[in-house]
């Protein structure tokens, strides 16, 4: 009976209910979309591993480290594997075709990144061909690259036209892994440099260190840095997570603003739904009073109003959540080049549901109070 009442009351004013549901849906959509954008920023952090350290020049990423450091790092206690690479920063055909490309030491790199899944024969082909490269599936799809295609990149940091052969396409272990990366042999870069700009050869952009014991990450990092202290290229070693966080914190101002906005949205929609509920209840005050005269207790009336409020916010919330997925997809298409991993997290959905419930309850508070405290005689006077 109660359920029947709820439904019919909610849809008595079809247009008003439809509009309120719409408003709620929009608010939930905005909330989810904003949180997804923030999560995209932290994607690198989320995907980082506790088993890896990044070693780079202490001054900034703009400066390189000598190749000779490799063996000395390997000698540090707690270090299991050492790989290295350079940020290559080239583009494909046009400057706006931006994606991450690296020159890496192939075998150690693949060993340190088990989350890149690649067919064994492709991996072997990559190892054998010095001009070979491995690209992520999303990147390959974007430019329609297939295995054995020849791809030419235009260098920025290392100028010139660089020719590669696609030897493998990798998939991320799950959808938190960036599958828009491009990596190739470090030796190809280095040998070319020795012939053209010799002074830039044998320089490494960063070292990636695999730990034998992840619990000793901080100690191992400190040990590595101690080796190179007071040399002309001092190092800064940190966990991959801290390294990725460094990038995120550079855009802190924007992130804070976005977080603030997502909260404000919820507050505003609360006001709108509360206004609607207050209006509806005010109009029907006489009816609620009649319920009272019939003997129904305040609790029942509260349940009616709360139920109606939750019904409206619930419909809006569900609609908003459903719309989030296509909207996120649209957003990803627009800014996907800057955010390789753009997905709607389960946590976002849970929070959206929680927000829906909170708004539904808060919007019902004043009307419930009003209905339970109004005197019968006064309420009846309003009818007719």
């Amino acid at each position: 009976m109660l359920l029947r009442l709820l439904f019919r009351n909610a849809f008595r004013h079809k247009l008003r209910t439809a509009l309120t549901v719409c408003g709620m849906a929009v608010a939930v959509l905005a909330f989810c979309l904003l949180r997804t954008v923030i999560a995209a920023w932290y994607a690198g952090v989320a995907a980082s591993s506790a088993n890896r350290l990044i070693t780079r020049n202490a001054i900034s990423l703009v400066f390189s480290l000598p190749l000779s450091y490799k063996d000395r790092i390997r000698g540090v206690e707690g270090v299991k594997t050492v790989s290295y690479g350079n940020w290559f920063g080239a583009y494909y055909v046009e400057q706006k075709n931006f994606f991450a490309n690296f020159a890496v030491e192939p075998r150690t790199y693949m060993e340190l990144y088990p989350e890149y899944i690649i067919l064994p024969e492709q991996r072997e082909a990559f190892y054998r061909d010095r001009k070979g490269c491995v690209v992520g599936r999303k990147l390959a799809k974007r430019f329609s690259w297939r295995v054995n295609d020849t791809v030419t990149l235009i260098g920025t940091i290392f100028p010139g036209n660089w020719e590669f052969v696609v030897r493998g396409i990798y998939d991320g272990r799950d959808d938190t892994i960036d599958d828009t990366q491009f990596f190739f042999h470090w030796d190809y870069l280095n040998e070319t440099l020795k012939l053209t700009v010799a002074r830039r050869a044998d320089q490494v952009g960063f070292y990636i260190v695999g730990l034998s014991d992840p619990n000793r990450a901080a100690a191992t990092a400190a040990a590595i840095d101690a080796v190179f202290k007071n040399s002309f290229a001092e190092t800064l070693t940190e966990t991959e997570r801290a390294f990725q966080m460094g990038f995120v914190s550079m855009s802190e101002a924007i992130l804070t603003a976005i977080r603030l906005v997502s909260l404000v949205i919820i507050v505003i929609i609360m006001a709108v739904v509360a206004n609607t509920m207050a209006m509806s209840v005010r109009e029907r005050l006489g009816e609620y009073v009649v319920f009272k005269t019939l003997g129904f207790r305040g609790r029942y009336l509260a349940g009616m109003i709360l139920g109606e409020s939750l019904l409206i916010t619930g419909l809006g919330g569900v609609l908003g959540i459903l719309l989030t997925f296509p909207a996120a997809e649209g957003f990803r298409r627009a800014v996907g080049t800057w955010f390789p991993v753009f997905r709607v997290e389960p946590e976002t959905i849970y929070l959206a549901i929680a927000a829906t419930l909170v708004v539904g309850v808060v919007a019902a508070v004043l009307p419930v109070w009003h209905v339970t405290t109004v005197r019968i005689a006064e309420g009846l006077r309003r009818i007719g």
Partner: protein, 388 residues
Amino acid sequence: MGLLFAYSFRNLLTRRLTTFLTATGMALVVFVFASMLMLADGLEKTLVETGSFDNVVVTRRSSGSEVQSGIDRLQAAIVETQPEVAIGLNGRSLLAKELVVLIVLQKRGTDAPANVVIRGISENSLALRPQVRLAAGRMPRPGSSEIVVGESVAKRFKGVEFGATMFFAMRTWTVVGIFDAGNTGFTSEIWGDVDQFMPAFRRPVYSSVIFRLRNSSEFDTLKARIESDPRLTLEARRETSYYRDQSKAMAKFLSILGLSLTIIFSVGAVVGAMITMYAAVGNRTTEIGTLRSLGFQRRTILFAFLLESLILGVIGGCAGLFFAAFLQFFTVSTTNFQTFSELAFSFTLTPTTVGKGLAFSLLMGFVGGVLPAFKASRLNIVEALRSV
């Protein structure tokens, strides 16, 4: 028609809470809309002001920004001999060869690290940038380990105040001055002697060559010659274009984000306005019937309700713009995606933005009110009078 306006306006005043809530919704949308426009304008202003139209920036071809660029001494010398380079007061070319690298500093307060631009300058560098002037102390002596720091850097980062000593690139440096660069990007930089920086950072090449054109119209000739010279792998851009290019990605991202938010919010505000106006029509059904019985035409009723909704929009719009104007006291500092370095800029409110904000709020008022106003005008007189 003053009575009509009074009618619409007073009806808004009667239901104060609802009017307030609805207007607040619209104000919020206009606030977000205006602040996005202001941010984009502020960013543009900073980057455009950072350059002089008559200056030319030469970097390595397709290097994007100075940080990625490298020009060796030979190539720099060739650029120096170009006839279009202006001659300075001292009789020598008004040209500077500079080195640009990034170092990591800790921000005040949050301790978060950020990349800061360090620029090795030569004697003409200051003359080439009229927007920059010393606010305190003096310029570094050539050949010394002295540096000057931009105001934004001094404000936001640790250990860079006037008189402080910094340690980087295996050497100690002393801050001997602070420079004021207004709204330009230079305010987020640290400057020192290029001939000291190059060995310290072990960079044997320059990042860029900057000079003043003796005659602004000669730019195209100069550009063609530099870019077709087989000895050089360089590109030349006007300083203003160079800095504008630096912000493209950032500006695009901000405008997409701002636009999406504005669209989403405006749907919410319009929905709020519609709910309010439909309720207003519902509550005043008898009144509408009375007005019609007095002989007022349908379109007058339509207009009165539409006017009410538009007034609501204007109130919201003005409130939103009013609060947005206060943003001008804030400076945003964030990392520019393209140059990878710290950039500080502020919000700029232009008359165009005010106009757009008001127009937008009117549009929202119109969209929110048009359907309820139509409903009001189409009510049947007899049924309207009959309702209580």
